[in-house]
């Protein structure tokens, strides 16, 4: 036990100051202060650059020319490992060894395909002696029909987190991920896509589902696309992060304040409308169309008569109340369109681009280079600033190609380390010495359960990609219903007792996963009379690996002790495998 450092001598801070609820807690230092590595010139430069970013003094292009960054041509995985390893060296930490082949296959399948491998895939990978088999695997998975389905699910979870499952939105995301649509184009689709475009119209659900809650629309957009949670600046200027003023919150709000939903659930924008807010110092204030970088958009001055204004009101009334109102007209000035324009233009795109890198990084590593991922401000610096800079530059230079970034991450040594730590106290997650165990998302879990419980001999063969695509679609649909039974993991996720009770005593679990039928693992295992072969097959199916000696012994023992009814015994060992944490997490 390592209690000394595990018990932080924290005293609850009592604050009654009204502003203090937004004070971010100082980010816990990765190491004690006296252990902090000496700052190198490059680091200093980047920290300075961050400040310059935040204050809007220096634009992104300036930074990306920083001489100390590795070559733009270097492979992404190499750059990742270079920066991560440099930091490990400075911290004098020897990272965990690389995960074994089968562990890595499992991790890559879950992270890129959203599912566990089939036993055939696992056995083939184990038997493959090609020195480039990992690259081949990553490229195969990225090209498989699984990848867009999985990436769609990940984006859906990110963008429509607590909103109801929306078929239109998911359809759009699938279309977008299937053609690897660039992130900036997707952003445009989601904010100002055309209702008339069959492919794009579902994208607007992002705005539509929040159109009745202006604060949510403002804050979610800022957080999900720019990595900035501005809600703290609603009531007052952000007390610690000097970057965020009330002006920013209401500036962001003003881009959305004219947005509304018509009775027919079409997205519309009013011709006029201003956002006013009260400040402690200046009293009532009118919000400018102010972006996070400090850039402002000015609306062309148009004199409007009282009659015109009244007419505008009438139009909105009609649109929101009448079923047969004509499609809403586009206003002469669209604040939402302006937001997209300013957020993506070269001199102001740093938030958008960095957030994209950071979010994808967090998808794979369970934490951002800036963490929490919605706290991009000068008081919360990145753990690896140059890496973030380099990856951002690379992303922008390659047209917001997310798949390219994902490939780089998946090929890095940082990604493929073991999740086991055997040498004393585990170092901070921020230095990536060991891979962090992630809970499966509900969809990953539902898919994996179905695959684990399926008759392993009945999967389409590796040389039948069309059949697999069809099967995968079916699986995706099956997983749909089941995924609602599991919690979407959030920060500090813990498995609930409800889940354990469900798996232990619910009839649906038994009927679906422990069924004695030809298409199920149980049905297949029943046909194997040799215990050892049976145990092997069960392990490969559920855990994508052969059993360890002690595991084989335990299962064999179980089968022998319960030999009076072999089928019952088989169902129980399958149950024990399915409910083991090994199938609950990506590790």
């Amino acid at each position: 036990m390592r209690l000394k450092s595990q018990l932080p001598s924290h005293k609850a801070i009592v604050k009654n100051d009204q502003t203090s609820h937004c004070l971010p807690r100082p980010i816990p230092p990765t190491f004690e202060r006296n252990e902090r590595p000496p700052m190198r010139k490059t680091v200093r430069l980047t920290w300075l650059s961050l400040w310059l970013f935040a204050t809007g003094v220096v634009s992104f292009t300036t930074i990306s020319l920083a001489a100390d960054l590795p070559s733009a041509d270097a492979p992404i995985e190499q750059v990742i490992d270079q920066f991560i390893n440099e930091r490990l060296e400075t911290e004098k930490v020897t990272p965990a060894p690389q995960a074994d082949d089968l562990n890595l296959l499992r991790r890559l399948s879950l992270d890129l395909a959203g599912r566990i491998p089939t036993s055939a895939e696992a056995q083939a990978f184990a038997a493959n002696t090609s020195p480039t088999k990992r690259v081949e695997l990553v490229d195969r998975l990225l090209a498989s029909p699984d990848f867009p389905l999985h990436q769609r699910n990940e984006l859906d979870r990110l963008l429509l987190a607590h909103k109801p499952n929306d078929g239109e939105f998911r359809k759009y995301l699938l279309w977008a991920t299937q053609q690897n649509r660039p992130w900036d184009a997707m952003f445009r689709d989601m904010l100002i896509g055309s209702e008339a475009d069959e492919n794009q119209k579902g994208a607007l659900t992002f705005v539509k589902s929040r159109a009745r809650e202006l604060d949510d629309l403002t804050n979610d957009t800022a957080s999900l696309f720019f990595g900035v949670n501005v809600s703290c600046a609603k009531c007052h200027d952000h007390p610690l992060a000097q970057d965020w003023k009330q002006d920013h919150f209401y500036g962001m709000t003003s881009f959305f304040s004219r947005t509304y939903l018509t009775k027919k659930n079409l997205l519309a924008e009013k011709q006029v409308g201003e956002v006013k807010f009260s400040t402690k110092k200046e009293g009532q204030k009118q919000a400018a169309f102010l972006f996070l970088t400090g850039a402002t958009i000015s609306e062309p001055m148009v004199e409007r008569t009282k009659e015109q204004l009244k007419e505008f009101d009438e139009v909105v009334k009609k649109q929101t109340q009448e079923d047969n109102a004509p499609p809403p007209e586009k206003p002469s000035f669209s604040p939402r369109e302006k937001l997209v324009e300013v957020a993506l233009r070269a001199e102001d795109n740093r938030f958008f681009a960095r957030n994209c890198v950071n979010r994808i990084w967090a998808q794979f590593f369970s934490r951002g280079i800036v963490d929490p991922v919605d706290q991009m401000h000068s008081a919360n610096p990145p753990t690896h600033p140059e890496l973030l800079d380099w990856l951002t530059r690379d992303l922008v230079a390659h047209n917001y190609d997310m798949k390219r970034l994902i490939r780089g991450i998946a090929l890095s040594q940082t990604y493929s380390r073991s999740s086991e730590w055997t040498s004393g106290e585990q170092p901070s997650a921020a230095i990536y010495a060991v891979v962090k165990v992630k809970p499966l998302t509900p969809r990953q879990y539902a898919l994996s359960l179905h695959m684990a419980a399926y008759n392993p001999t009945q999967w389409p063969a590796a040389d039948q990609p069309d059949k697999w695509a069809q099967r995968r679609e079916q699986l995706e649909n099956t997983a749909n219903g089941w995924s609602n039974m599991f919690e979407v993991p959030g920060e500090g996720f813990q498995v609930a007792i409800d889940e354990a009770l469900l798996f232990t005593n619910n009839k649906r679990i038994e009927d679906e996963f422990l069924r004695d039928s030809g298409d199920r693992l149980v049905g297949y295992l029943k046909t194997l009379s040799d215990n050892s072969a049976l145990i092997d097959a069960a392990f490969w199916s559920v855990n994508s690996r052969p059993p360890r000696d002690e595991e084989r012994a335990a299962l064999n023992d179980y089968l022998q002790k319960h030999s009076t009814d072999r089928l019952v015994a088989i169902r129980q060992i399958v149950w024990a495998l399915l409910t083991s944490p090994e199938l609950r997490v990506c590790f």
Binding site: K11, T30, V437, E491, T504
Partner: protein, 434 residues
């Protein structure tokens, strides 16, 4: 290890969570207790306090739809807003309550009243959310409700009973409760249509011995996997499966047939009465938080008739519950609360109803940590506004937490953001605390 990934940096939370993770890392059922013992040696006093705190229980009688303060805790007899019912003297000198609550009047020494809630939200959804979580909604933060907070603060990680049980049988305004950012680990076990929890009964297709054997096999596989992997997720997974058998055994807690006939007769025939009896059985078995919702008080029409019925139900059930808890020596550890999303208007509408009103209404606290017979705050003579001691939802929460021995200003950390247990700026009302 990086403490940044945890919600809360406070010392005692650290104890729990640390113990939990270590158990997870070692991965056996027995290790947890041993681990706690080790902590005990090192942090004796803190741990002792912790144990003491863990004896505390809460029963929230949630008056869904909004009960009238005039017909319960803050009568205004003879005033134009007062309605027809008299005020009666209670066992606490100087404190009068509505004649619709005679049994509670006789037990006022157990109970404190707060008459000065001004919660400002007279909408069922918004008001419920406010009174469940003790704060207004915030974009981007999903707050846990009182039940989840108490489950986390008072519950034992390895408890054989549920941490938070929520009963809501009527369908109107039915709300399950939410553990918000604390996650499903602290979500309520929710019972609505019938009083048998889901998935606590062994399927007939498996024998009890097989049920246990396969669980043991699962534990063995899980333990091997957990070796060398330090993870909240794995730890909680292990913990959840370890609690299964205990929770299955707790099914009988929901069965009032297990009670002697005489005891059931005391609680009476109403559903609410019976659910109060279930609540008592649960807290007696160690469940830290039970919410019994009594819906639906939303008396827009016929307020007096509605309260004649519902107050009779509340008065009787609550009085029997308090007596029973007291007889069993549980009352000093159990806090019994009554409130809902808001109170009701002073104005009496043409249907002789009262409408939604959040500007000046009442809540009650009985038992654990409460100064019995106290009456805090005052409304004006007609009950339109708070005249003295205005209290917010946050203040009520701070008071409740303090009564339970929990520091209301303790903070969780969500992302980089501190979230205190009771809202910023809230203060416990000392006048109603023992």
């Amino acid at each position: 290890m990086n403490p940044g990934s945890f919600f809360c940096g406070s010392a005692d939370h650290g104890v729990n969570r640390r113990g939990f993770l270590s158990a997870a890392a070692l991965g056996t059922a027995g290790t947890f207790a041993a681990d706690m013992t080790q902590l005990d040696l090192l942090r004796h006093s803190a741990w002792a306090d912790d144990v003491k705190k863990k004896e505390k229980r809460v029963i929230l009688l949630w008056l869904a739809g909004g009960a009238s303060q005039f017909e319960t805790w803050d009568p205004k007899p003879g005033r134009p807003t007062g309605g027809p019912f008299r005020a009666i003297q209670t066992a606490s000198s100087g404190v009068q309550i509505s004649e619709l609550m005679p049994k509670m009047a006789a037990r006022m020494q157990t109970t404190a009243i707060i008459r000065s809630l001004n919660t400002k939200n007279g909408d069922h959804g918004g008001g419920s959310s406010l009174m469940e979580t003790g704060r207004r909604k915030d974009p981007g933060i999903d707050y846990p409700d009182l039940g989840a907070l108490c489950a986390k603060e008072l519950g034992r990680i390895d408890s054989a009973v549920p941490d938070y049980v929520s009963l809501y049988s009527s369908t109107e305004g039915r709300r399950k409760g939410t553990s918000g950012f604390l996650g499903a680990r602290y979500a309520p076990m929710f019972l609505s249509e019938n009083m048998v929890p889901e998935n606590v009964r062994r399927l007939e297709t498996i024998s009890d011995i097989d049920h246990q054997d396969r669980a043991a096999l699962r534990d063995l596989l899980a333990k091997r996997f957990a070796q060398n992997r330090t993870s909240d997720v794995i730890g909680s997974h292990t913990n959840a499966y370890q609690r299964v058998r205990g929770l299955m055994a707790s099914e009988k807690l929901f069965d009032i047939e297990q009670e002697p006939e005489a005891m059931r007769a005391k609680y009476g025939p109403t559903q609410f009465g019976q659910q109060c009896l279930i609540a008592r059985r649960l807290v007696e078995a160690g469940v830290p938080f039970v919410k019994v919702a009594r819906a639906w008080w939303d008396s827009h029409g016929q307020n007096f008739e509605t309260h004649r019925e519902l107050c009779a139900d509340l008065d009787h059930s609550m009085a029997v519950l308090l007596d029973d808890l007291k007889d069993r020596g549980l009352l000093e550890h159990t806090l019994v609360l009554t409130f809902g999303e808001f109170g009701r208007t002073p104005q009496i509408n043409p249907s002789l109803g009262r409408d939604h009103f959040a500007s000046a209404w009442s809540a009650s606290l009985s038992g654990c940590g409460v100064k019995g017979g106290a009456c805090y705050g005052k409304t004006d003579p007609d009950g339109h506004t708070v005249a003295e001691g205005e209290a917010s939802a946050g203040d009520l929460f701070a008071t409740i937490l303090t009564a339970l021995g929990i520091d209301p200003h303790k903070e969780y950390t969500l992302g980089a953001r501190p979230v205190p247990l009771s809202d910023f700026g809230s203060k416990p009302i000392k006048e109603v605390l023992a």
